[in-house]
Symmetry: C2
Subunit: 81 residues, 2 copies
C-alpha cells in the first residue's frame, strides 16, 4: 500500500518556480501553456498490514502539521493499493 | 485541460529528503512507514483548444530535456480534462 501526497502552493501565493518553468516552456517554443504551479510530491510506502483509514488519518495529521505549510500550501492525500 | 507531471528520484538513487521525512514520521510516532521518496510535482494549465496528443508529445520532450534529469530521475506525465 502506498500513500501519495501532493503539496502545491495556494492559488493566491506567488510561485516563482512555476513562473520560471512557464517562461522556459514558452521560450523553447511550447505554446499553449496557460500557467504552471510547482509543488512537492511525496510517495510513502506503507508497511504491509497497515490499515488504510488509520494511515489516512495519521498522514493527514502529518501533512497538516509538518509536511506542508497550511498558510501558503494546499495538499492532496491519496491512499492506493 | 491540465497536464500533471510527477518527477521522482530513481529507485537506485539516494534520496536524502525522503529519508528525512521517513525518520521525522517515525520519530513523531507514525508507525508503518516502509519508505519515502520525495519528488517534484508540476501542474501545467493548458490553454483552451490545445490538442491533447500534441501537448503530450511536447511535454514529454520538455520533461526529458529540461524538467527532469533522466540520469537520476523518472517522470510520469498525465493529461487530464
Amino acid at each position: 500500500m502506498k500513500a501519495k501526497l501532493v503539496i502545491t502552493p495556494k492559488k493566491a501565493v506567488l510561485d516563482p518556480q512555476g513562473k520560471t518553468v512557464a517562461s522556459a516552456l514558452e521560450h523553447l517554443g511550447y505554446a499553449g501553456v496557460a500557467g504552471v504551479r510547482m509543488g512537492k510530491y511525496i510517495e510513502i510506502d506503507l508497511a504491509p498490514g497497515t490499515s488504510a483509514p488509520e494511515a489516512e488519518r495519521a498522514l493527514n495529521e502529518a501533512a497538516r502539521r509538518f509536511l506542508s505549510n497550511p498558510v501558503i500550501e494546499d495538499y492532496r492525500l491519496e491512499i492506493v493499493e
